[in-house]
Amino acid sequence: MIMDLQLASLLTCGFLMIIGMFAAIFIDNVIKKVIGIAFIEEGVNLFIVTIGYKAGGVVPIILPEMDPSWFASNAAYPLPFGLVLTSIVIGASTLAIMLALIMILYKKYGTLSAKELLKDRSKEAVADE
């Protein structure tokens, strides 16, 4: 093996977060911004799962035939996994709300460009009155 699995996974989540950040900040299309945000969340979730991983361990589900002390010293750490479940669902719900807002705004302006949609409108409001 070239690299430890845990280290490689950490690198992956770093890449995912950086790609997501780049997309969320620099890409003009709003849907791509949202996709980028989904990647950031994915990266963070992967990070949390990686914390719980144990090289050469077993899945943290205790079966009747397992010896509890062997299980305790060999199972992966299940707390981060539990946390990730919640955070995945939160990510999905924020994504859904953002997409709903995008649909409404597209109806109003007919564009997906963030520069157009989300520019400063305070001066415009003064201009048309």
Partner: protein, 77 residues
Amino acid sequence: MLGYLFMIFAVVSAILALVQRDLLKAVILTGVSGASVAFIFQILLAPDVALTQAIIVAAIEPAFIALTVKKTTREDV
């Protein structure tokens, strides 16, 4: 070994998703990236998380985005 493959897959499909001109292709590649991450979760000993990830991030989220794309526009100008 499979783990590394999926890691490369996740990153590459994420990058590819963001350079597509056609937003529907981007949606599909987002799903691919989510599914790869779900496999990574499985390999990292978290099958329950992998299941949730596979359903929510790899299936439902792309469906949401695809719906938005259908209601708006497919082209990323």
